[in-house]
Symmetry: D2
Subunit: 367 residues, 4 copies
Amino acid sequence: MQKEEKYSTIHYHNYLELDQLLALQNKRSAALGENAHDETLFIIMHQVYELWFKQILTELDSVCHLFRDERVNEDNMNTVLLRLKRVSAIVNLMIEQIHVMETLTPLDFLDFRDYLFPASGFQSMQFRMVESTLGLREEDRLTYHGKSYKIVFTDAQRAQLDAIEQGGSLFELVERWLERTPFLQFAGFDFLAAYRAAVDRMIEKEQANIMNSDYLAPEMKAMRLRMLGDSNSYFKHVLSQAEHERMLAAGECRLSYRATVAALLINLYREKPILNIPFNLLMELMNIDELLTTWRYRHAQMVMRMIGNKIGTGGSSGHDYLAATAAKHKIFKDLHNISSLLIPRSELPDLPEDLNRNLGFYHSAQV
Amino acid sequence: MQKEEKYSTIHYHNYLELDQLLALQNKRSAALGENAHDETLFIIMHQVYELWFKQILTELDSVCHLFRDERVNEDNMNTVLLRLKRVSAIVNLMIEQIHVMETLTPLDFLDFRDYLFPASGFQSMQFRMVESTLGLREEDRLTYHGKSYKIVFTDAQRAQLDAIEQGGSLFELVERWLERTPFLQFAGFDFLAAYRAAVDRMIEKEQANIMNSDYLAPEMKAMRLRMLGDSNSYFKHVLSQAEHERMLAAGECRLSYRATVAALLINLYREKPILNIPFNLLMELMNIDELLTTWRYRHAQMVMRMIGNKIGTGGSSGHDYLAATAAKHKIFKDLHNISSLLIPRSELPDLPEDLNRNLGFYHSAQV
Amino acid sequence: MQKEEKYSTIHYHNYLELDQLLALQNKRSAALGENAHDETLFIIMHQVYELWFKQILTELDSVCHLFRDERVNEDNMNTVLLRLKRVSAIVNLMIEQIHVMETLTPLDFLDFRDYLFPASGFQSMQFRMVESTLGLREEDRLTYHGKSYKIVFTDAQRAQLDAIEQGGSLFELVERWLERTPFLQFAGFDFLAAYRAAVDRMIEKEQANIMNSDYLAPEMKAMRLRMLGDSNSYFKHVLSQAEHERMLAAGECRLSYRATVAALLINLYREKPILNIPFNLLMELMNIDELLTTWRYRHAQMVMRMIGNKIGTGGSSGHDYLAATAAKHKIFKDLHNISSLLIPRSELPDLPEDLNRNLGFYHSAQV
Amino acid sequence: MQKEEKYSTIHYHNYLELDQLLALQNKRSAALGENAHDETLFIIMHQVYELWFKQILTELDSVCHLFRDERVNEDNMNTVLLRLKRVSAIVNLMIEQIHVMETLTPLDFLDFRDYLFPASGFQSMQFRMVESTLGLREEDRLTYHGKSYKIVFTDAQRAQLDAIEQGGSLFELVERWLERTPFLQFAGFDFLAAYRAAVDRMIEKEQANIMNSDYLAPEMKAMRLRMLGDSNSYFKHVLSQAEHERMLAAGECRLSYRATVAALLINLYREKPILNIPFNLLMELMNIDELLTTWRYRHAQMVMRMIGNKIGTGGSSGHDYLAATAAKHKIFKDLHNISSLLIPRSELPDLPEDLNRNLGFYHSAQV
């Protein structure tokens, strides 16, 4: 298209390439002579999902690109946040779409299921790309009968997936960005030392609550104190770098020590203007993680309703496979775990005035 | 494709024709040298809508086909119901999709809006086909600056729309099906006479309620009695065929007298087994009508947020146009009006035993 | 209230007892001198849940009552279906309510969490009643630190829960109703024998598909044939009563043999008029089960976000407990498993004419 | 309650005052001897709505309080935003609740409708308080048969509503806050002058687009140029203070000139850190307005389904009344109209460096 065509004929129909788009729903059942009405729905449902996957990839790629820019600036972070919110909105819609899928009944599906063999949603390249771009690694994934999930793809596709896995996922980009947070040690204020003291005060208080309760029987008190001791151990994540390194090595967590401490600071001081968008950004990453999990989970429920415990057309165990990925394919677990580390506002140490100003707006500091 | 290919190579990727599908998102802004990130979303949102329109048309066409079959049988009516429910599920999802559209902000839209000129959602052929297939007539529609909505289409498309408008819409097919209801006069039972007596009893009671109320001031009593008189006039729809014919002629209603009475009977005796699916079917038609109205309405809200009161790219008045169609483009209004005609169960006349049996199951009548 | 008061003063405000209702939100934090803004939300959220629980119990009790009536008739079954659909609509709303709960942030919750100790959602009597009325048994439940879930209740409440558990849950009432299905053996038609033959034909076909595939490597063929063998074993549920009894004894399933076969028949011949409502009724039971599972699951996600892995105020392990009940507290699993037993319509045996008539309407059989 | 009771016996059941709460569902139909099953749902639905109204009022009151504080600071604005988002989440849930209301069918409602006479949702004091607190004035409201909406309330309630109407609604507080925006004229930068020049450039471009189009017939070009002229007139809102004052006097708009210009600036430069929360806050106010409108609209649809065009129990015209409030009871219309005034980013004037710094963070300006 040339520059001068700019304002020449453009019609909704051409712009959306509807002639081509609406010619891509070719039923196997019709081609093979036994037309099944509901196969059109089956095709369109999956094509819509693939269009949304493309949109999600478009957003995630742009977000990664913005994070890669050395000079990440505040305006960009707002753009990143809005694009991640868009991804959430799309995954949310994908979850709602399951209600449409559920109008396809098991008996109607059985009318054309044979013709699809051995195709399977397992073979969606774009969905794998979404997972890998977010940060799901080969080792985090369920295997496919003991083999890599990549065996269902062509060589070219596998190379593409490898490139994503090696190229720096959103997880790693966010980790590096967190590590650059400048406020962890600031002009004589040691965030971790202040936090450690606050945690100790809080745990003492909770112990006293349990001990002083009139309501709890002695055995319940003992049990609760034991549980409190367990919960206490969560704080070791941040209170001891050595312990954190051990957990990293053992695969019990994934986010680096410095990034974890930064995420905690952002969570605790989220009201400070300069931390507002970073906090919302971490929330949105967790949100996407949760929504994808819910989608897999609802998808598994739907497959259960559709084929029960039968094997899927692609040879996976259908429902069980999907239910297992819902539990396992989480990426930002370490951010979720930050919640365990939060303490009441009343325990939070006051910030030195100089730091406080650095977390605020220029204009407010001038007036 | 030949029979023997049946179980040869089929892969998710080929089945869904993803190479073609995912190559149809070509941004005008990119072609014209000023790439706008958000145009991809704009294209995909509309392509998804068009895919859903295709699915809705697939269902509506099959439903019309089943209604046209002279030997409409009960199994078919269940199929009709399930397909209409699917249409509802899809329109519901279309409404949810507006949340994704709302992630496109006015400022981001303005980045590429100029390039789309003069294309417009107004030019969606498939959506017009959906409306016409359901039963929206040319005269029910808003005009486009005083001209037919068809002027934005090609000759071939106009011919296609004409054919749908003349070929018997779902509205007309349902009307004929209602007119065939066999139970209106049955072995000495005159449904309308019994209903008329019940209405009279009910209105007398309501008048007494108002007169006897300790709470209402005299002027309020008078006002309410006046309103009751007005509501009374609704019953003329069914109690007087002459009045109904007058309303039909004046365009105040559209459904034939016999079909209206049948719809009322089905509403009142919905618990009878043989009327269960017919009742649910009428409900689903109203549901689709309401959902499409909600979609137009939410769409209008979204356009307001996006471009305010500016004109749309297609030259419509944007928000105002959509808001007006939300109010005007209703098809099954006459079914909604049936609600005004319902009376309490306690007023409903007992059915003669023979009729009761004919509204039940064969098996139950045998045992 | 006396009869003559019928139409005397009644006002929205009195009718809903708003003076009392709106005086029940008494914050512990305010009483204890450190008012926490968000505690009002916390109270209202839970009160709304309890109001919905009461509504669900109202519906479930009425449904059980209708099932208990010896002369269960068709009109009643429609009422049962509509009330179960209402339960689904409510649970669905309960799931949506989690979005409101999520506006309470971890830090805001920590402001008053201490004051609630040791109260806990674990102590909701009504929710336990919902679960037990549906059919969850003591032995299906997670224990509470090795003890019965009932230990948090008073003696009177425990007695009430015992009564529900012993009085015939909805699960058992449905089971008995299924067992009464009259069409399993009908005038020379043996449903199970016909089904068995159809299953054999279908499995042979699937084996052939795998063997003849050009696409699958030999090892994949072997693997799939193995999986097919496994899936084959699901059919033993119904094809062998002895096997079914063994599974019942081993706790691998719960629904009686005769009820299972009836549920299968209803699923396969759902289009027959007399089976339409029974089929929808079974679907709705599964729906409620799924929705409650989704609610527990989303609830667990929300708790994770709120307190991470900390212990709940009631001494449960919070997130883990809820996530475990989401997986375990399912009641109508056996109905879900019916999906595994479905076979394509084309394999379904034709029904003898006499049986076909008995599954239809009286009126249709007369004309 | 005394301080020392802090950790004494507290149980979920007592905390939520469930004995009282669950005793407030007293059916009129039962009291009057003709028990209607569905009246429980009717009561609970409305009680739940009233609980949510109380929560909304709690949030709005706190938000107004924060706005009234002379020293409005940035942390507070974040709190305001989160509380407004909570209001949105609640109204959204209220909309979803209509699905539960729809399970009450017209026939079931008619079973007990008579007993409710003349109570009506019209008499909800709390909902009126929500509307008035947001900023709906007596003159913006539909009248009730030519009288004030307040005539259904007691003297004490009327006084309460008067106090809210006179005490400074959220609308007025937001207006004053907008008027205080410091960046409209800044060290030699005149926002309005720069904006006026940009608008002129944009309109010239759009005119050229229309003139140069190959696609549009001459009459269509003329029509579009006319429409562009009309849309042009929207800009007068901000480009001419005199015109704005005329519109204010004529009741065509409500927001003061200075506040309107500030809202435009915030919309155009939303990416600037210091404008981020103000922008999201304006968005959220529009969101609440839209959601309340949608709720009224869906409510009207539901009433149509329930009683058709009959009069409501409270003597309003039911559906028509609700549909009219959906169209009329909007509060932040002027914020919605800002969309008409937006122009493409490429037209936006560059900000002087000094102003740019003042819109950013202190920390960024230091490094």
